[in-house]
């Protein structure tokens, strides 16, 4: 079974290596997929909470055209986004930039999630230890009762059922078993 799994994983890796990477675009053209990605990072300035790829107002269309013109001229994603930020302010971006104070926006969720996972594991571990301690304490509480049980068994007159199987009951007359 494990070997089958390795075989399958190997096939997957080989297949992935075979897939062609996206080809580069010529200087005159732009990659529509990249343009679409940038569109979804820029908010429409006049619509309530829409990005320019969602909005259908004239200004959104103009901004999309600017994005495509700049891409065709060879500008990078950062440069294009910076262009809009210069004119509209930081809140034209659909998500906080990943620098400065705004890193907090991105890192805090990660910290909280990992932190709560660690807390949960620690809390559960301590619950487990308490349970183990309690089990041990239970045994000592049962001591006197176990001794009574031993007495009854010692004084019992019932014979073991079979002799050929290994005897399950180790208590025999005269024995004084040790319960520690």
């Amino acid at each position: 079974m494990p070997s089958v799994l390795i075989l399958i994983m190997g096939t997957v890796v080989v297949a992935y290596a075979q897939t062609p990477t996206s080809d580069s675009e010529s200087a005159e053209q732009y990659d529509e997929a990249e343009a679409y990605n940038i569109d979804s990072m820029i908010m429409c300035p006049v619509c309530p909470a829409e990005t320019i790829d969602q909005a259908q107002v004239p200004i959104a269309r103009q901004m999309k055209q600017i994005v495509r013109d700049k891409l065709a001229a060879g500008e990078s994603r950062e440069a294009i986004l910076e262009y809009f930020v210069e004119r509209y302010g930081q809140n034209i971006l659909a998500a906080p930039p990943k620098r400065g104070f705004n890193l907090v926006a991105w890192l805090l969720p990660v910290v909280v999630l990992i932190g709560s996972l660690v807390l949960a594991i620690l809390a559960l571990r301590s619950m487990k230890q308490k349970e183990v301690l309690r089990d041990m304490a239970d045994d000592s509480e049962l001591e006197p009762y176990l001794e009574v049980v031993d007495d009854i068994l010692l004084n019992s007159t019932i014979e073991p059922a079979t002799q050929d199987k290994a005897s399950i009951n180790p208590i025999q007359s005269g024995d004084n078993p040790n319960h520690g």
Binding site: T19, P48, S116, L117, K130
Partner: protein, 656 residues
């Protein structure tokens, strides 16, 4: 009519206050007669608020424009069928709707409460009545649906055109009912603490109501997505809009609740945690109501803009502090008798499930709140929209769905690791095979590949259980496979109902991944007779019609659709412009197949006859809508009551 409505509203306020105080005093003074009358008042309230509701409906039907609310949300041209929507379209009416729903749910909860909850029931009633009194009070003093206008207008303003859609008949009422419905399990949880019933007595009602409200909210959310998809005109289905998030967060926490309550049912664990979670869900529901009515962040919803924000904020504070105070006060009574035995166990998987779900809720809350924090600290306006949520919540969702596939295969208490790995071999192999196939087909985006792989793990795990279980029944009882399968589900309804819901979740994931990563979008302007190509589709603009109504102008655009050269069909997309609202509502023309949606929506009708259209190809989004009924079906199966008589045969079946 309006006067009757107003009078019954005030009467209801008096009655709910009486029931609330009476329940508490009756418990304090041990006065049975008082408790009895406070309980019966809960039933009476349904009637009284019902009359108030009916009089508002009647005012709509008779177009009584003297009542301000009726004049704002209807007009003479409105079809009567939209009365249902107009009722809850605005702030005041939706408050009345919420009060009515809460009164009905409270009455059902009280009348069906099991006998073992008798010590806690008065406290639970008091809590339900506190919430009801709040809503009735807000209506009576601040937002009366029956307020009158000094001069009766000749015609009303009409209903918001965005609401005249099939989805709007169910989406807002389902969501509002779901959000207020969280009051019921919360009331039983806190009530049981106050009633000193701190074992697992409230668990059964908690589970049933939790599941029911969860399904209601899930339906409301999916319907909202569907509505946005067909009517908002940009081909998307989820904005991460503050109001959307406000309904999403309680649902996430409720999902955590319905899972962790299984651990309490099975092993008597997580007692404290379950009460904490239901409190959190309740607080988030109140937060949602606060956001929806005068919240500080603008949204696409803009529903019922009002100045009531502060009173809902106060109630949010009250509804959070009081339950948690009670929780911490009686904290030590709630300790479970058992604890976790192993980190690799079903219990631990449920803990992980809760962590991930609460994590998503936290991220969503954080995204809604961060702009305010940024404004406070850096004086800078920052937007937090789709890209943030997609990037941060996306991986958590994937991890959650992976857990959904593995979790059901992990035994309770302690798992034998090698046995667990053996059980996982087939699902994971299936996942890798699928990923390999997709790669060969040319799909190489990492996210969807991982997502589809995880979906395979879940589906394979469920499929294997079903096949194994059916085969076992066939061997044991001699049933054929179909009968065995049906009886298998019937024999363990919570488990298999849950599996159906898990499959629905995978279907939603299919739709979301397909439409998000593989969609194609094109905006074009077409003159009459012109064609445009998108993907391997071609559309030709062939006809335009204009229809005038008293309150709107409808532009119909007829398009012939070809695919790979062959004619498919003629679709009609429409755009309706409402001058009095200065708003347009669109109906996209959608050709929907399980493989992809071909979606055309007009964005502008030019004076020269040409039309601006947006064309979208959305792969696999069909699966998301089909998942909706499956969610409901799974919940119904999980909640379907089992016959009490348990025979040896059904015990054997339970092992399957």
């Amino acid at each position: 009519m309006g006067d009757l409505g107003s009078i019954t509203l005030w009467l209801a306020l008096v009655l709910s206050s009486y029931s609330m105080v009476g329940s508490l005093l009756g418990k304090l003074l041990k006065a049975r007669a008082l408790l009895e009358s406070a309980r019966k008042t809960v039933y009476l309230l349904v009637l009284v608020i019902g009359v108030s509701t009916a009089s508002l409906v009647a005012s709509f039907i008779t177009r009584d424009f003297e009542i301000s609310y009726v004049a704002e949300h209807s007009n003479l041209a409105m079809d009567n069928i939209y009365t249902w929507v107009a009722f809850y379209a605005g702030n005041e009416g939706s408050l009345l709707y919420i009060a009515f729903v809460l009164s009905i749910m409270s009455a059902i909860a009280v009348i069906s409460a099991p006998d073992k909850l008798k010590p806690s029931l008065p406290f639970a009633i008091a809590i339900m009545m506190v919430v009801l009194t709040f809503f009735l009070g807000v209506m009576a003093w601040m937002a009366n649906p029956f307020d009158k206008l000094p001069i009766i207008p000749i015609d009303g303003e009409g209903i918001n055109p965005l609401l005249t859609h099939f989805g709007m008949f169910f989406h807002p009422p389902a969501l509002m009912a779901g959000l207020i419905g969280i009051t019921i399990p919360t009331a039983f949880a806190i009530g049981s603490i106050l009633g000193k019933q701190t074992a697992d007595e409230w668990m059964d009602v908690g589970r049933i109501w939790g599941l029911f409200i969860w399904a209601l909210l899930a339906s409301g959310l999916l319907l909202g997505s569907w509505w946005a998809y067909t009517i908002l005109g940009w081909g998307g289905f989820w904005f991460w809009d503050p109001v959307e998030n406000a309904a999403f967060m309680p649902w996430l926490v409720l999902t955590a609740f319905i899972h962790s309550i299984m651990v309490q049912k099975r092993r008597g664990m997580f007692r404290m945690w379950n009460i904490a979670i239901i409190n959190i869900a309740f607080s988030l529901a109140l937060y949602g109501m606060f956001m929806n009515r005068g919240g500080p962040v603008p949204s696409v919803h803009s529903f019922g803009a009002s100045t009531l924000g502060w009173i809902f904020l106060l109630f949010l504070a009250f509804g959070t502090l009081v339950p948690f105070a009670i929780f911490f006060w009686r904290f030590n009574l709630l300790k479970s008798s058992r604890s976790l035995e192993s980190m690799i166990s079903r219990e631990a998987a449920f803990i992980m499930n809760n962590l991930l779900l609460l994590g998503i809720a936290f991220v969503t809350l954080w995204g809604t709140v961060y702009p305010l924090i940024s404004r406070l600290i850096t004086q800078q306006e920052i937007t937090v929209a789709r890209p943030f949520y997609d990037q941060v919540n996306g991986p958590i969702f994937l991890a959650l769905i992976l857990l959904m596939g593995i979790g059901p295969l992990v035994p309770w208490r302690q798992a034998n690791i090698s046995a667990l790995l053996k059980a996982l071999i087939w699902p994971f192999s299936g996942a890798f095979i699928l990923i390999g196939l997709l790669l060969l087909l040319g799909i190489n985006e990492v996210y969807p590949l991982i997502g589809y792989g995880i979906g395979t793990v879940v589906a394979a795990g469920i499929g294997m259980e079903w096949i194994r279980g059916s085969c076992l029944r066939k061997r044991t009882f001699g049933e054929n496979y179909v009968v065995a399968f049906v009886r298998l589900i019937g024999a363990n309804r919570p488990r298999y109902g849950g599996y159906i819901v898990h499959l629905a979740v995978v279907m939603v994931m299919l739709g979301v991944l397909g439409a998000s990563f593989f969609n194609v979008q094109k905006d074009v302007v077409l003159a009459m007779g012109e064609s445009a190509e998108v993907g391997d589709y071609e559309i030709e603009y062939v006809d335009a019609k204009t229809q005038s109504r008293s309150d709107r102008i409808a532009y119909l655009t007829e398009l012939r659709v070809y695919r790979g050269g062959t004619y498919l069909e003629t679709m009609t997309a429409r755009r309706e412009f409402y001058p009095s609202f200065n708003m347009a509502a669109t109906r996209a023309a959608i050709k929907s197949t399980p493989v992809e949606d071909f979606y055309v929506v007009p964005s502008e009708n030019m004076p020269d006859g040409s039309v601006g259209v947006r064309i979208l190809i959305n792969p696999m989004i069909w699966w998301m809508w089909v998942a909706g009924p499956l969610f409901i079906m799974g919940t119904v199966v999980a909640l379907w009551p089992e016959r009490r008589t348990s025979s040896a045969l059904s015990d054997v079946a339970q092992l399957a």
